[in-house]
Every structure is written in structure tokens, then in C-alpha cells.
Subunit: 478 residues, 2 copies
């Protein structure tokens, strides 16, 4: 049964036309009415440029109000926004654009040439408007966004988020955190990640402002919390560490009520530092597939369950496929969880069973049902909040003629949490680290490039010839 509701932005502009939707660092403010009018205008221009219902439209941009407008504009047409990580290389991008059948990419600045039609936001603004009708209702079952995520094997997969997935994510967060009309949510995370995107959507659903930072700068985040009435901020571990440093002996205002921490496990020492500075850290666990947080530590338990990611949000369920030591694979279920990967029935079928998503992550639940994530997806490296899959890097390195085999693991790092390091067995003794990195840089975003490269004779493998990454790190890494 279709659940139909008014278009979120139109509705919020009806309910609270003069309330702030977006606030920028320089003080510029966009009301819900202004954001609606801009987004509808942009949508009519996109229509004039040929964008149609159900088209997949690439958006490549750093955080910028035009990106917010573009996302809402795409939804006014009933098209789907494919959100592109701006740090990807040309070949990584090409894969996603081809896979999603993207016909047009729009973005903030000139795009590296790809085999796709491209328009800057500026180009779009300078186009004439179509007079065609825009959508004024949303069917929660319709797709809204696609965001690519790498997996433990194979190519990145396009996670389809329906309007319903985003709605239920916002509803689940609201039931956990409560909602005050004075709330203001800081978005310093990239909007092309679901952690950033979801802040935008909560804003139009809740009717609260987003304080949008165009790039992450620790001082800007610190100042926003101290001086700009931000009440909730979404951060990853590396940001929390920075902020603890900025805070020193000061305290955040009492109105700052939630530092929502995602993007991988946080060291206990950091959590304790945050606790001692009375920072209201809410650890959470989520995946692109779950449309942001799906397990969050609620206010009442934040202190006594340090290190836990909490309990599944109200509409969500959690189970652990237990191994002998209590730790097992984490499965999640709920209406915020994606129904499918784009155009990838095999991956979809492999990941889902009776509504449960196999996350690939390991963890356990304590007697009261609090989740402790033991390890993110097998071998996943999380560096500064970005997910890095060793297989992807290994695939690139092994593609060099001189490289026989390559193994990549995450090494603990004070600043980034982890960094990827590589072990390679080569057949040409003249090859250098620089040559390897030069080749890799053509195919991999900077944050995925191995920060250290070790030459070894042979990779450690088990009896079934499977690479033993744990051994690699223990025996060769330091």
C-alpha cells in the first residue's frame, strides 16, 4: 500500500516559510520558503536540460548550498540523485557513472572529463526554466538517492535509498534524541555521504536549520558549537579528537545536547576524554545501507555504556549470528534499511534474507541488549571516517605487470584512526615505491593510497590459499 505524503520541502515551506533551513558560516541564511523556491526553479531548469522522471542524475560537489538545492530539485522532478564522492579518481567515478547509467552529472566546479554529459551548477542556473509541473507529493516507496559503497569483494555497489528509508531514518533518530524547535544540526560531514545527506533531510522533515560547513575545519566546527547555537553535531572519530583538542579546558554551552559519533569505532581513551569534558557523545553504528545510524546509544545510557554503540533505533531490529565466543556477524532489519543495490541482484540476494541485512561487521550484545562492535566488516579500514576496502586497493596494485600479488591492511594511526598500508611481491626488482604509488594514484582516491609499501617475497596464505591479512600486519607491519 503506497504511503503518499506531501513533498517534504514544499510542506515545510508551507508550515514554517520564514524559519531558517540553511545557515552558512558567513551568516547567510536561507529560509524554507527560499530553499523551496530555489529548488523548484533549479528543477525547472534541469527539466529544460532534459532531466526526466526516474533519470539517474550524478551530483559531484563539496558541501554548498547549491548542492542542497540540486538534491531537492532532483526530487521535485522525481529523478534520482547519484551522490558522487568528490575524492574519487576518474576511473572510480567512471565505474559508478556507468554502473548507474548516469546521463548527466551536475556539480560545483568543472568535472574531470568522463564519458558523461556535465553541467556546473552555474550552467544550470543560467538555463531557462521549463514550465512543466513538479511533484508535490512523495511516494515513500520511490527511490530518492543512490550512494556507492565498496564491499568486501568485487566492485562498489550502488545503495538505493527510497524516500521511505530516509523518512524512517529521520523518525528513528527523532524518537531517540527527541526534537526541540530550537534544534540546529551541524553538517560538517560531506553531503555525498549518507551521514551528511541525512542531516539535510532531517532538516526539512523536522523543520530545523542545518548549519552547513562547506569544508571540515576543526576551528569552524568548534566555533559553531560555541557561538552559533548548534545543538546537535554529526562527527566521525578524527573530528572528535580534533574537537577535544580545541575545547581544552572550556565547556560547550548547555544547549549543545548531542555529538552524534559515527564512522567506525572510537578509542576508549578518546571517549573518556570527551566524557571528562562533558561532551554529550552519542556513539552510533550505521552503514550506507541503513541510511545513516541504525544503532545509537541513547542519552540515558551514554555514560554507563561507554564504548557501546547502543540499541537499535525504535523502528529497527538487531541480531547477532553468534559464534562460540559470543561475537558474531551483526544483522540489522528495519524500514530505514535499503531494499536493494542498484542493478545488482546478485549482491542484493547475497546480503538480504527475510528482511535482515548481513552487515559483514562483527560484534556482540551485552545482557541488556547494548551492541558492541568488535570489528567493522572483515578487513575494512576506516580512515578519517572514509571506508576503505583492502580488496579494492589490492586489485589496483595487482594490475601492475611488475606486481605478482598485493596485500593491504589497516594500521592504527593517531590522527586518522587507521591508514592503509600495502605489502607487495614483485617480479621486477627495479620497481620502486614511487612507481607503484604513481600507478595507484591514477585509479584510487588519495585517501585510499597506501601510506606505506613493503616489498616481501610471498604473501602469507592459509591452506585454501586465502590471504591471511591478520598475519600480514602482525608479522610484517609495525
Amino acid at each position: 500500500m503506497a504511503e503518499i505524503m506531501p513533498h517534504w520541502l514544499t510542506k515545510q515551506a508551507d508550515l514554517a516559510p520564514e524559519e531558517t533551513a540553511i545557515e552558512l558560516e558567513d551568516g547567510t541564511v536561507y529560509t524554507f520558503r527560499e530553499l523551496k523556491e530555489a529548488s523548484q526553479s533549479f528543477a525547472r531548469k534541469l527539466k529544460q536540460l532534459g532531466v526526466q522522471k526516474e533519470s539517474n542524475i550524478g551530483i559531484s560537489s563539496a558541501n554548498h548550498v547549491d548542492m542542497v538545492v540540486a538534491i531537492h530539485a532532483v526530487s521535485y522532478i522525481g529523478a534520482v540523485a547519484v551522490l558522487l564522492n568528490t575524492r574519487l579518481t576518474r576511473s572510480e567515478l567512471n565505474f559508478q557513472l556507468n554502473d548507474a547509467g548516469v546521463s548527466l552529472v551536475i556539480g560545483q566546479t568543472e568535472f574531470d572529463p568522463v564519458d558523461t554529459y556535465f553541467r556546473t551548477f552555474h550552467d544550470v542556473w543560467n538555463s531557462p526554466e521549463s514550465s512543466a509541473d513538479l511533484k508535490n507529493e512523495i511516494d515513500l516507496a520511490d527511490p530518492f538517492t543512490i550512494i556507492y559503497t565498496s564491499g568486501t569483494t568485487g566492485f562498489p555497489k550502488g545503495v538505493i535509498h527510497t524516500y521511505g528509508n530516509h523518512w524512517w531514518s529521520a523518525a528513528g533518530s527523532m524518537l531517540n534524541l527527541g526534537l526541540k524547535k530550537t534544534d540546529k544540526w551541524l553538517a560538517a560531514l560531506p553531503l555525498f555521504h549518507v551521514s551528511g545527506l541525512s542531516i539535510l533531510l532531517r532538516s526539512v522533515i523536522y523543520g530545523i536549520p542545518v548549519y552547513l560547513l562547506e569544508a571540515y575545519q576543526k576551528q569552524a566546527v568548534h566555533d559553531a558549537i560555541m557561538e552559533r547555537d548548534v545543538t546537535i553535531a554529526s562527527v566521525v572519530t578524527v573530528m572528535l579528537r580534533d574537537l577535544v583538542g580545541c575545547l581544552g579546558e572550556m565547556h560547550y554551552p548547555a544547549t549543545f545536547r548531542c555529538m552524534l559519533l559515527g564512522g567506525g569505532p572510537a578509542p576508549k581513551t578518546l571517549l573518556e576524554q570527551a566524557k571528562s569534558r562533558q561532551i554529550p557523545v552519542f556513539q552510533s553504528y550505521g552503514l550506507t545501507e541503513t541510511a545513516s545510524q541504525i544503532v545509537t546509544l541513547s542519552p540515558s545510557n551514554a555514560l554507563e555504556k561507554l564504548g557501546s554503540s547502543g540499541k537499535p533505533l525504535f523502528p529497527a531490529q538487531l541480531k547477532i549470528d553468534k559464534k562460540e565466543d559470543g561475537i558474531g556477524e551483526i544483522f540489522v532489519k528495519g524500514p530505514m534499511v535499503t531494499n536493494a543495490y542498484y542493478n545488482n541482484a546478485e549482491a542484493t540476494e547475497k546480503s538480504f534474507s527475510e528482511g535482515w541485512l548481513a552487515t559483514g561487521d562483527l560484534g556482540y550484545a551485552d545482557a541488556e541488549g547494548f551492541l558492541y562492535v568488535a570489528d567493522r566488516r572483515k578487513d575494512l579500514i576506516i580512515s578519517g571516517g572514509e571506508n576503505i576496502y583492502p580488496t579494492e586497493i589490492e586489485g589496483v596494485l595487482s594490475a601492475m605487470e611488475a606486481v605478482d600479488e598485493a596485500g593491504v591492511v589497516g594500521k592504527d594511526d593517531e590522527k586518522w584512526g587507521q591508514i592503509p598500508i600495502a605489502f607487495v611481491a614483485v617480479n621486477d626488482p627495479s620497481i620502486t615505491r614511487e612507481t607503484i604509488l604513481e600507478f595507484a594514484a591514477q585509479h584510487l582516491a588519495g585517501y585510499k593510497l597506501p601510506k606505506e609499501i613493503y616489498f616481501i617475497d610471498k604473501l602469507p596464505r592459509n591452506a585454501s590459499n586465502k590471504l591471511m591479512r591478520s598475519k600480514l600486519l602482525n608479522e610484517y607491519g609495525k
Copy 2:
């Protein structure tokens, strides 16, 4: 696409086992864990008594914790709760029980004999438990409750509320009012009305306590707001008038943040009195069909739009089928609106068109989209928050041999808002008001009995022989 989520009460008992679910006037408290355990036990007993998935189970009770338990128990079985107004007569009840195919009625006290199997709550508690499994998930498309509502014509109709209707109602209210973990919602309205029932369901969805009054007593409501940390109260006009009286020159605590006013139009003088006493009145508009409020005046507009019912809640839409003077029939749409009347395709078809429900009520929207309800459903009489349909009373009176025809209208009343009064043309001059009332009392709940009866020769009718009720009141009533 089915939306599956955990059973609400089980989930809330997982998230906040020791938080208060229900608080009674005598100080007794039930936690979410206790309420879950009681409801699951009650469900197993009902199962042992033969209640099955999809059975329609009548519940006849004044507000009582056992009624709350019974409602949740029915949902643990996947059965449907038919909530019976305790003020109905035997014949009114029989109609609803037959119409809904109710096989078992459970209730607080011995039930007037009807052709249905009956068990008191006490009987159920004394039964053994079945060991059968209970539901641990909810499909939002499944029916949860049926509540009968009279219409402008014909017999009462059973409004089916799915879990989704109740969910969306709760979500819409939360988006309007916000949600604080310190909220406590006063339920003094009967739980057999959707206005009372919806408080219970918000409690398990939001994780906040209900302060449950077993019967409406103005002093008890006053005291609850003054002394028991109630933050939100649902009231009807007659209650608001009482409370303004109780308050006198005092003020409610600052933590009391919402007096949600439903159940028909409120006189402007009363709203002004409430305003001058700083009572945070939120006028609202809703029907049984909309699973409680669907249009509500939000905090920011409460004062400047006195007399308006506000704007449709976030998931809802409103349109007015305009007549020349701007006033027209009110249509509403949204996922909280029922999809169907029970077993009544004709009424369903007549009331719905492309997702829009024709309410039968009249109103207009101002330039900013605020709804002003001009008249509740044509000829509807609202007396102390109870809906009374003239046709129903006229049908009963006309059934007397001595009565040729009868017309019923609502007369303004200081205390109740309106009271029903009747005009009858009789063929037996010896018949008295007492005889008529005695007959009517066998068929009509007390609040529906005409408070005044006038004998007239002939009812005023228009050219198509339609009763002109407005003329009746103007010419004959005083």
C-alpha cells in the same frame, strides 16, 4: 511494500524497561517492562480462551490499566480491538457487535447481556496461559483497532485503523509538538475514543508516560497539571471551560507546554480566557477517520491565529472544495487517514476519492493556509466532546407508532457546547414527553437523548422534501 517493525510495546520495553509507561492518580506506576509482561500474559490467556489472529475482539471499559493491557494484548495476538463506547445502549452495542462480527467482548464490569460471549478482565486474568507464540513484529498495513462513528446518514460505520494509521498520527503530532524525554501526557478522555487511544499509542512509540485518569474529574485534571509534572493534556471544550474555572488567578507550571484541544469548535471567548491565563491551548481538528488530530495549530501560531485549527500535520494534506463565499467542504489526505470502513464498501467508496477523505465538515483556509472550521459535519451535534448525529435520534423517535416524523437539532449550551433537542409530529395526542424519552432511552445512550422535546404539526421541508433543520432551530427553538 510491507513496512515491518518491532512490536511497539516490546521495543519500548527493550529500550527503556524501567521508565514509566502508565501512572495512575493513586501513585501506582507501571513501567514499560511491567506493561509488556502484563500484556503478554493477558494475550496468552486470551489465546487460551480461543482468541485468534484477525479475530475482532470487543473491549468495553472505562479508563483502567486493564483496558490498556487488553489493547496491547489483542495486538500481541494479531487480533483487532473493537473499542466500544461504554455509554451506548444495548441495541446500539448490538448493532456494532453484529456489524463487526465480534465473537468475544471483554470488559471491566459485567456487560449488559448481548448475543456475544463476554468475559470480564478479571475472568481473563483468572484463566490459564496458552504457550503459543506472540507477535514480535508489526506490519504497518495490518488492522489494529476498529472504532464506530456515526455518519450523516445511515448506521454507524466501523473505522478501521491500521498500525500505520496510528504510527503516522503519532509521528505527525511529534513533528508538530516536538518531543522531550520529560514529557508526560494526560489521558482523561475515554480510551474508547481515538483521542484517548492515541495517547496510549504515542506513549509506547515515544517512550513517555501516560498519566491515566479513570474518569474525568475537573479537579483531578487540574491537580495533575499543577502537581504531577504533566506536560501535555488532551481535552475537549467542556473540559477546557472547567479548567479555566479551576485555575482562577493561578498559572500552570512552565513545564506544562500543550493543552491539545479537540472535539469540535471552541467559543472565541473561551479561547481568549485561556490565552489571558497563559494556557498553551493548541486547537486541533480531527475525526475518528484521521486517527485523532490531523490539523493542529502549532506553538508559533497559537496566539496570532486564535480560532483557527491550524495547518495539516507534516504527513497530511488539506483542501477545501470551495463554494462562492470561500467556505466549502473540508477534504483531508495522509497516511494517518483510514483506508476503509469495516465491511462497508459503499460508505468507503462514497467517502474517498484518490486518497482524499470527504469529511462532510465545512470550513475555509486563510491566505496563509490556516484552517478555520465553520461547521462540523452538516447537522452534527457535539455535546461534551461526543458526536451526536440527528438522523440517528430521528430514526429512533420515528420508530414509535405514535410519531409521524421527528427532527433533531443541536442547541447551544453553556456547559456542554451543544445539546440535542427534538421536534416531533405525533398522531396520538395522549403521548407525552416522558413516554417518548422512555422509549428513546432503550435505544440511545444517555448523552444522545433529547434534552427538550417540542410537539409540532409538521416538520419544515424544502421542495425536495428534505428536512430543513436550520429552519427548525430558528423558528421553533429558543
